[in-house]
Symmetry: C2
Subunit: 301 residues, 2 copies
C-alpha cells in the first residue's frame, strides 16, 4: 500500500456474532485485496455483533465494504436477530475515518458516495450520521438508532426520519444502515487508587463534554472487580482538539479532591501516533517539534 | 520501499563542505535508487564537511555508499583539506544504524562487509569503530581519529593501530575511514530558566555517563545567547536503555538545587517513534502498551 495515496479506515458493524461460517463470509471481502488491509475483526456472542476494522485506499475500500454489505444482506435476517447491543440493521453502522493524506471533508464526501451506491444497489435505506449528517439530529448514532430494528418501519414514516438515501421504508430483512465519517476514537481509561465507584462516576461526570467537561471526551465510571479498583473509561472523539494528556491531567486534578491517586492508564485498541507524540511533547515541553522529525515517518512517507 | 524488508540508516561524513559541484557528485549515488532514500544532507563551510543521511535495504544501501565513497576518493584530496572539524579521511566516518527488522548483530556484520569491500576496492585502510570495534580502544571515534589525517601515517605504523581492513598505510589522498554500526543518536536539549552557564555545565556533568550520570547520555552545557538562557545539550546514545524522559527528569531534579526551572526542551533532527511513545507511556503510566497499537504501525507494516 503506497503512503502517497489516501488511506481511510472503515469499522463496519454487522449484526452477526455467533455463526462462524457467516462471519467468515462477511469478513472475506476485506481479505487478499490489493490496497485493502484487514486489521482486525471481533465478534461478540452476547451482543450478536461483528466489528471489522480495515484500512485502504478509497476505491478499493469502497469495493470491499460494498461486497461485505451485500453478503451481510444475503445472510442476516434481522427479523430473527437477538442480541444485547442496540441495532437497527444487518449492517448496523459503517463509519469511515480519515487516516492519511485525506481530509475530513473528503472522507465525508466519500461516505456519501458509498451511502448513495449501497442504497441504490441493495434497496437499503441509509441515514448519514456523525460528520456526514445533513441535519444535527442525525449526528448522534444513538438518536438515529432509537427504536431499533423493530420500530424503524414506523419511525421512518415520520417526515423527519425520511432516510438520506434509498427507499422510504426499511429493507424487510436487513433493516436500516447508518453511514458516516468520523474522527478516530481513542479508548483511553484512567485507573484510580480506590474501589469506590461513586468517585469514578463523579470524576467521569466532571471530565466529559455532556455534563460540562472537555469538548471531545465521553466518560463513564466503571469498576474493575478483579483489580479491586475503579476506572474513568473515556472515549476521546477528537484527539487533535482534546488531547489525551489533557483528559489525563483533568482526571488527576479531580481525583485529588477525593484524596485519590491516579495509578495508571490504558489505551484499548489502536491510537494514532500523533496522539502519543502530542503527549510526549506536552510533558517534556519539546519546542517546535514536527512529525517530520519522527524517523519512521521519514521512512514511510 | 517494503517494510517487510530490513532497513538501515547510514550517515556518512565526507571531508568536503565548500565545493557545491563536488558535494552534488558525492550525494548523487543516494538519489533515484530503488530501495534507497536520501533523507538529508548538510554541508558546513567552517567544518568543510558534508553529512549525508540515507536509509535503505542492505543490498541497495551498500551499493550507494560504496559508489559515493568512490566519488569522494576521486574528488577529495586530504593533503589540501582544511576545516575546523577533526577528520582523518576523505570519507571520515560511515556509521550504520539498524532501523527496522534488523538487529544490531546484523548491522555489525553488515558494516564489516562494507568495510572489507571498500578496503579492497579502493585500497583504503579502515578501522571498525563503535559496536563493530574488534578491540575496546577502537569503540570511540575520537580515540581512533586522534592525530587526524596529518599524523595518521605515523600512528598506523604502531602495531596497535594496524587497520582492521585494507593496506597498512594511509591512502595518499583519502587517508583513513572509520566504519561501524551504532544505535540511533537522539540530540535532546533541555532549556534552563537562567543565563548562568556554570549551572548548565554543572548539570551536564551530573547527568552524563562519563562523570557519573546516565549510562547512554553525553551532555555539555551551552549558552543560547539570543534567547538569554542556557541549555543542557545531550546526545542520547541508546534511547532504548536510557530513555529521554529519564534524562529530562534528572536535569529537572538537578536544576532544582539551583532554584532554576526547566523551561522547555528540543529534539534536533530525527528521533525514533519508540523514544516518544516511551515518553508518553511513562508520563501517563499507560499499562501494557505495545507499538502494535499505533495505527500507523499497523498501516505501514
Amino acid at each position: 500500500m503506497s503512503d502517497m495515496n489516501k488511506i481511510l479506515e472503515c469499522v463496519p458493524n454487522f449484526s452477526e456474532g455467533r455463526d462462524l461460517d457467516k462471519i467468515d463470509k462477511i469478513v472475506n471481502p476485506f481479505r487478499g485485496k490489493r490496497d485493502v488491509k484487514l486489521l482486525d475483526f471481533q465478534r461478540d456472542e452476547d451482543h450478536n455483533r461483528l466489528v471489522v476494522t480495515a484500512i485502504g485506499g478509497p476505491v478499493a475500500l469502497k469495493q470491499s465494504v460494498m461486497e461485505a454489505m451485500g453478503v451481510a444482506i444475503d445472510l442476516i435476517d434481522m427479523r430473527k436477530h437477538k442480541g444485547q447491543h442496540p441495532r437497527m440493521g444487518a449492517i448496523d453502522v459503517v463509519p469511515f475515518i480519515p487516516v492519511r493524506n485525506i481530509s475530513m471533508t473528503e472522507a465525508i464526501d466519500f461516505s456519501k458516495d458509498v451511502a448513495k451506491e449501497v442504497a441504490e444497489k441493495y434497496a437499503l435505506p441509509v441515514y448519514l450520521y456523525e460528520e456526514s449528517a445533513m441535519v444535527p439530529e442525525r449526528q448522534n448514532l444513538a438518536v438515529v438508532r432509537k427504536g431499533e430494528f423493530e420500530k424503524m418501519a414506523e419511525k421512518m414514516k415520520t417526515p423527519e426520519w425520511k432516510p438520506d438515501f434509498g427507499p422510504g421504508e426499511i429493507h424487510p430483512s436487513a433493516g436500516v444502515t447508518a453511514i458516516g465519517a468520523r474522527m478516530p476514537l481513542v479508548a483511553f481509561n484512567v485507573n484510580l487508587g480506590t474501589d469506590d465507584i461513586k468517585i469514578a462516576h463523579a470524576i467521569a461526570k466532571n471530565v466529559r463534554h455532556i455534563s460540562g467537561g472537555l469538548r471531545y471526551c465521553k466518560a463513564i465510571g466503571i469498576a474493575l472487580k478483579e483489580k479491586g479498583i475503579v476506572q474513568v473509561s473515556m472515549n476521546m472523539t477528537d484527539y487533535t482538539k482534546t488531547s489525551l494528556y489533557r483528559s489525563f491531567e483533568l482526571v488527576k486534578a479531580e481525583a485529588k479532591r477525593y484524596g485519590v491517586n491516579v495509578i495508571g492508564s490504558e489505551i484499548v485498541g489502536l491510537v494514532p501516533m500523533e496522539a502519543l507524540i502530542d503527549t510526549a511533547v506536552y510533558y517534556m515541553g519539546i519546542e517546535n517539534f514536527t512529525t517530520e522529525q519522527v524517523l519512521e515517518v521519514r521512512i514511510w512517507e
